[in-house]
């Protein structure tokens, strides 16, 4: 089945998991939509007053109404279960995770690493879980990495976290998803996943600009 991958334990590529859950819900949505709308059009055609001049009143049908209550209940509970399990696995912090402090301000992002290195682009090593520690110096922002299907509001006076699992090399956009004023739309930066050795070199300040741009051209 096309959606069951979402339920397998140990799914790391969260984006795929989210897409599978979305595909399942939207698939069920389309089936429900077609049932309702096609039935409606069939009735409107078949029971048009020209073809069906004498209406028949039917006041209800307990069995039918129970059925169309019970089936959706089961269906939405399953959707809930998918969404919940898909979500909580992103809240688990593995011991191997690397901390990166993410600081939001009107209207830019900055990232701070354990060795004190600061950057306005988020560089991460491939294959290592990243725990982003989010804080804001002014208003509420939203740390959003669309390619990773991940988002967390950044609340001033609080520290929230968000887990990233960078599996593939590449260069992804980071945007602000919580309205924060004038240049909200321009509060963007990049997430660049480097091979581990390149990342270590970058962290020590030894990676040239050419190497960075070359490394960030990796597969998406």
């Amino acid at each position: 089945m096309f959606f069951l991958g979402a339920l397998l334990p140990g799914v790391r590529h969260h984006a795929t998991a989210v897409d599978d859950i979305a595909r399942f819900i939207i698939g069920a949505d389309i089936i429900l939509f077609l049932i309702v709308v096609v039935t409606m059009f069939v009735f409107v055609y078949k029971y048009n007053k020209k073809r069906h001049p004498h209406a028949v009143s039917i006041h209800g049908n307990v069995a039918l109404e129970t059925l169309w209550t019970a089936i959706p209940v089961v269906l939405v509970l399953f959707m809930f279960y998918l969404g919940w399990t898909g979500y909580i696995q992103t809240r688990v912090v593995p011991k191997t995770a690397m901390d990166v402090k993410v600081l939001a301000r009107q209207w830019s992002w900055s990232f701070q690493y354990a060795n004190g290195k600061q950057s306005d682009t988020l560089f991460v090593p491939q294959g290592r879980p990243i725990k982003c520690l989010l804080s804001s110096v002014d208003v509420i922002h939203g740390f959003y990495v669309p390619a990773f299907r991940e988002k967390q509001d950044v609340i001033p006076g609080r520290v929230r976290y968000l887990m990233l699992y960078p599996e593939n090399l590449g260069n992804y956009e980071i945007t602000c998803s919580q309205y924060c004023g004038l240049d909200h739309a321009l509060m963007m930066t990049r997430l660049i996943v480097l091979p581990k050795d390149k990342f270590d070199k970058w962290l020590k300040g030894g990676l040239s600009k050419e190497e960075i741009s070359e490394a960030s051209m990796g597969t998406r």
């Binding site: 979305a22 039917i58 959706p72 669309p146």
Partner: protein
């Protein structure tokens, strides 16, 4: 069930020859001109006052929305029609006007005021003067909001006024919330008035389960208005305490919690979504049964699902804040309840479609609006399931997907059926019919424009386009352009529809008291209704949607009076 006439004995106006009664549109009181309207306590005139004021704000909101779409002509940030500050003002004003001044008062204040008393066989609401006060409060609240918006230059907080941004920016959030609070009072008083009217003024024989489903929907809505709206007062009080005494409540620089503000805001504003959608659901039940010429399928189920939605609807506000840092327990509960609130809405849709089964369907304009409603509301509701699920919500919240979903529910659902309700009831209110063919064309254009405008938003959202962006990445250009052109088509449809309706009100062909073959009480009185609705209070002996000719023949034949 033995006697099939709705009112026992003669119908209320049977002894007055046509045209000799005094309609509510004639001035019979001591005032003339505009005073005869703004000092009138007649529920029908107040309904029309609301109708005029609400649609005036709707027109403003449409223009603002149209300009927002026009802004998407080029990705930017260079070469934009409006700069960032102006765009931020556009979406703030669009949201505030549409939500607080148009959709929330919406159907209850206009058509509810007009038809609730008539549908239960009363001469007016329980407190006519309180009813007029509600309208004055609405106008006062609207003025206060507008003043707060322009006091310190153009507002730019978004309609949600989230702190601490709304504290740091120049906009006067205290005054804006005060304005919403006054509107809230208007809403509470209307709710109280309706509850009292429904409990105390039903005609003899009109038991609760003989009430039309529109009345049931207004009843459920009134409870939400009365119970949820006071939360606004609490919020306002806390904002004032923080501002005046510098007690840290919401502002993090004083040690407050900005997320607390979001909770309070949504504890009111989420039930407000059900204030917006329940009355339209009531209208749908009316229209579907009238034009199918048969009884409604599952009357009690529809009535009870309104109450269920009203009740569960209180308890789901937290789904607006899944990424604001709620505990996992809160996320679990709110996500679960959000899925459960979908069930009664789904049941209603099934019941409406089942009501068409074996009917004798007359697809007049109001019925076609209803079909459009079912399609758009289904898309809105089903996309809601994608947002109710935590894993997908984390990706989609704060994006165009939410904007698309919300507009499918509120515009495609509530407002389309508001239009349908106007097409259904204006002939009753003014005694004249609009051009039916033009109405159908207008609906067709609206439907195409609507989907062009909002369906791309669902796709844009899934592709990661955040909302409230004046500029966007070039990869989104095609979808943004389709959406923009959709807004043009939609506006053309709106203009045709309103011109047709207004022309119908003043110049349309006269129509009789019951042009659609409706069975509820408003169709038993002349069009336009007499000043006091009923010369004689009717005695109700039947369920509301009793079509004697459609009743199946039972073992014991029922005597049918013609």
């Amino acid at each position: 069930m033995a006697d099939v006439t709705i009112a026992a004995g003669k119908s209320p106006h049977s002894h007055s020859p046509d045209g000799e009664y005094h309609s509510y549109l004639e001035n019979t009181g001591k005032h003339r001109g505009i005073l005869a309207w703004i000092l009138s306590t007649d529920h029908k005139r107040i309904g029309i006052l609301y109708l005029i004021s609400i649609f005036t704000f709707f027109a403003v909101g449409v223009v603002l929305g149209f300009l927002m779409r026009l802004e998407m002509l080029v990705p930017g940030p260079a070469g934009k029609i409006f700069n960032a500050q102006e765009y931020n003002a556009l979406f703030t004003l669009h949201g505030v006007i549409m939500v607080f001044l148009f959709v929330i008062p919406g159907i209850p204040a206009t058509l509810g005021n007009f038809f609730l008393p008539i549908q239960i066989g009363a001469k007016d609401v329980a407190f006519p003067r309180l009813n007029l006060l509600s309208w004055y409060l609405y106008i006062t609240g609207a003025i206060v909001i507008m003043m707060s918006m322009f006091w310190h230059g153009l507002p730019d907080t978004g309609w949600t006024f989230y702190v601490p941004y709304s504290i740091r920016t120049g906009t006067d959030v205290t005054m804006a919330v005060f304005g919403v609070f006054i509107l809230g009072f208007s809403s509470i008083l209307t709710g109280l008035n309706f509850l009292t009217t429904i409990h105390r003024l039903r005609a003899p024989g009109m038991s609760f389960f003989r009430m039309p489903l529109f009345v049931w929907a207004l009843y459920a809505t009134a409870w939400i208005q009365v119970i949820a709206t006071p939360v606004l007062a609490i919020t306002l009080l806390l904002i004032v305490i923080e501002r005046v005494f510098s007690v840290g409540i919401f502002n993090p620089t004083l040690g407050g919690d900005p997320v607390l503000y979001q909770h309070l805001f949504w504890i009111y504003s989420h039930p407000a979504v059900y204030i917006m959608i329940l009355p339209p659901m009531g209208v749908v039940s009316e229209i579907v049964t009238t034009f199918s010429h048969r009884s409604v399928f599952g009357y009690k189920m529809i009535a009870m699902s309104s109450l269920a939605i009203a009740f569960i609807g209180y308890l789901v506000w937290g789904h607006h804040m899944f990424v604001a840092g709620e505990t996992q327990t809160a996320q679990f509960v709110f996500s679960l309840l959000t899925f459960l609130v979908a069930i009664p809405s789904g049941i209603k849709v099934f019941n409406w479609v089942a009501t068409m089964y074996k009917g004798s369907i007359d697809p007049q304009p109001p019925f076609l609006f209803l079909m459009a409603f079912i399609i758009l509301f289904a898309i809105g509701g089903l996309t809601g399931l994608v947002l109710g699920s935590l894993a997908t919500d984390v990706h989609l919240t704060g994006t165009y997907f939410v904007v698309g979903h919300f507009h499918y529910i509120i515009f495609g659902g509530a407002v389309f059926i508001f239009f349908g309700a106007l097409h259904y009831w204006l002939p009753k209110m003014f005694g004249r019919m609009y051009g039916k063919k033009t109405a159908n064309w207008a609906l067709g254009i609206l439907f195409v424009g609507f989907n062009m405008l909002y369906f791309p938003m669902l796709l844009l959202g899934y592709e990661g386009m955040p909302r409230r962006y004046f500029a966007y990445l070039p990869k989104y250009e095609t979808l943004q352009h389709i959406s923009m052109v959709g807004s043009w088509v939609l506006v053309i449809g709106l203009i045709i529809m309103f011109v047709n309706l207004i022309h119908g009100i003043f110049r349309g062909e006269k129509c009789g008291p019951n042009p659609w073959g409706g069975t509820t009480l408003e169709w038993t009185i002349p069009s336009p209704p007499p000043l006091e609705n009923f010369e004689e209070i009717p005695i109700v002996t039947n369920e509301p949607y009793y079509h004697p000719e459609a009743e199946p023949i039972k073992a014991e034949p029922i005597p049918v009076a013609k």
